[in-house]
């Protein structure tokens, strides 16, 4: 903060006569600065989502596994940013492809083009090279974070970290390049505005594959029917969901890739109304199906609405946005129950929120005349066909080698003691028998 340089500047200015320094500022410079500020704000908002994910996952699981979840989510952010700097960014935005539209790689590491090429000319005055990298990098970790919630309370820490590195460094950017990198799906006019499919489904498929290989938590399915394993902190869950909604303003709003007032503010409105409708839809559904309204379902419903609108936030009408939110909120409640029926144990509902609603949202883009259900469905299937097997393979290899599941004893005592040798709430009396 070298205000003294500022002082000098001012003196200079005064010397020249006030405002003189202003002459060489163009409207384009000012626009570039404003646009870039918007993108940086979006970076902060997306960053905040990682805290949101951490608290949601912690809130929906048991106290004895809290440290482990927090650890995973902290590590993922670091892994995401560093691998994205090393490989991901240039794999997802290769510039020109090696296998046209399918695969490209711009080389290792990050470096801004010289001069204006890395600044005002980098993206037509919308943002700088560094802003672009960081915005995209903040997205990258998300895919692994989604998996983290689904596998919580039973996965071995090292195996999870290895999975995350591979999934975030290679799978996510590789498949991402097909749309956002300008690949073949983009050319087919497949539309996924901010990532219902590219981010959320990619994470969701990874989560599904992982929990299928991992199996349910001990005591989750007792002689054939599902038992509840209540999360230990509703306040943390709620804090997380609000932070995620907040972050979504940047996740979707930033995906406009400029500060364009009309476009961005419209996206913020569709995003907010879909989230609100998701709350309402899930509230009614849980009240009807469970007699008493379940807070965790309503909060899942809010996220469901947000994931659902992500693909078409810029393209659908306000009413369509509300509809998408309401449908996703309603489906979310049923989907959580369905996965339990199928004995697929997902402690936080990640597969429901990110996979199921990610698919719904991607298809719903067809509500806008510009896009066709066929192409949207093709995109959905493609990502499923690639990401599920990929995640399954990685986890399978880990299962056969390092092993992916903690011992029964450790699972009972909790992963906090087992993996980290510490408690999350030292001194508090907590019944650990469930």
């Amino acid at each position: 903060m070298r205000s003294w340089k500022r002082t000098l500047l001012i003196l200079a200015v005064l010397a020249l006569g006030a405002g003189a320094y202003a002459e060489d500022i163009t409207a384009a410079d000012a626009m570039f600065t404003a646009n870039n500020i918007w993108m940086m704000v979006s970076i902060f908002l997306v960053f905040t989502m990682h805290l949101g994910f951490a608290t949601v996952e912690v809130g929906l699981t048991r106290a004895k596994n809290t440290v482990n979840i927090l650890f995973k989510n902290t590590a993922i952010v670091a892994i995401g940013l560093l691998t994205y700097a090393l490989i991901g960014f240039n794999l997802m935005y290769p510039g020109d492809f090696i296998i046209p539209g399918v695969f490209g790689f711009g080389g290792f590491g990050i470096a801004a083009p010289e001069g204006a090429a890395g600044l005002i000319d980098y993206a037509g005055g919308a943002y700088s090279y560094w802003t672009d990298f960081l915005f995209q990098g903040m997205f990258a970790a998300t895919a692994a974070t989604i998996v983290s919630g689904a596998v919580a309370e039973r996965i071995k820490l090292p195996s999870f970290l290895i999975f995350s590195v591979i999934y975030v460094a290679f799978v996510y950017p590789f498949v991402g390049s097909w749309v956002w990198g300008g690949g073949w799906l983009a050319e087919m006019n497949f539309h996924d505005f901010a990532g219902s499919t590219l981010v959320h489904s990619v994470g969701g498929w990874g989560a599904l594959a992982s929990i299928m290989l991992l199996g349910p938590r001990l005591g989750k399915y007792v002689n054939g029917h599902a038992k509840a394993i209540p999360g230990h902190s509703m306040p943390l869950l709620t804090i997380g969901v609000f932070l995620l909604w907040l972050g979504w303003f940047g996740f979707n709003g930033g995906s406009v890739l400029s500060g364009d007032p009309g476009a961005v503010s419209y996206v913020l409105v569709t995003t907010s109304l879909a989230a609100a409708a998701g709350i309402m839809g899930s509230m009614i559904t849980t009240w009807v199906l469970q007699k008493k309204p379940d807070l965790t379902m309503v909060l899942n419903g809010c996220l469901a609405g947000l994931v659902g609108i992500t693909a078409g936030a810029d393209a659908v009408s306000v009413n369509a946005a509300i509809l998408i939110g309401a449908v996703c909120g309603t489906v979310a409640v049923m989907s959580v129950m369905m996965f339990d029926k199928l004995k697929v144990d997902d402690p936080v509902g990640a597969t429901t929120v990110h996979l199921v609603c990610g698919i719904i949202g991607t298809l719903a883009v067809a509500l806008s005349p510009e896009y066709t259900l066929g192409v949207q469905a093709l995109g959905v299937l493609t990502y499923g066909a690639v990401c599920f097997p990929a995640a399954f393979l990685i986890m399978f290899v880990l299962k056969k080698t390092l092993g992916i599941r903690v011992s029964e004893e450790e699972e009972l005592k909790g992963l906090d003691i087992g993996e980290h040798g510490m408690e999350a709430y030292s001194g508090f009396q907590i019944f650990t028998n469930s």
Partner: protein, 120 residues
């Protein structure tokens, strides 16, 4: 030993948590001022309740209770029991139980004082 046995009793009562203030009040009136309280989970005739959490079944059959332990000299036993009942009874299943045991010895840590005198 024998004798003492009859002199001091340990009264253990399991009551509904929300009744604690009333029971304390009733005990004070009977001039029973000393007690120890812990919170416990109880399972008895009161059948517990079923809820669903995220659609899955959750059967809560261990209900929150409060456990009182009160050491008294035998002449206080009856009045103590009456007081507990007075404060804790609602007439509904789940009101709880009172158990009485012999106490062989009682020592006040502060003074080392022993026997009946140390109780109060």
């Amino acid at each position: 030993m024998k004798m003492k046995e009859n002199i001091m009793k340990l009264i253990i009562a399991y009551i509904q948590p929300e009744k604690l203030p009333a029971v304390k009040q009733a005990l004070y009136e009977k001039e029973v001022f000393k007690m120890s309280v812990t919170n416990a989970l109880g399972c008895g005739q009161q059948k517990g309740y079923h809820e669903t959490y995220r659609g899955a079944d959750i059967e809560v059959n261990l209900l929150k209770k409060v456990c009182l332990e009160i050491a008294v000299n035998s002449e206080f036993v009856d009045s103590t029991i009456e007081a507990i009942i007075a404060g804790a009874r609602s007439g509904n299943i789940g009101d709880g139980k009172i158990f009485v045991q012999n106490l062989e010895e009682c020592i006040r840590i502060r003074t080392g004082e022993k026997g009946p005198g140390a109780i109060g």
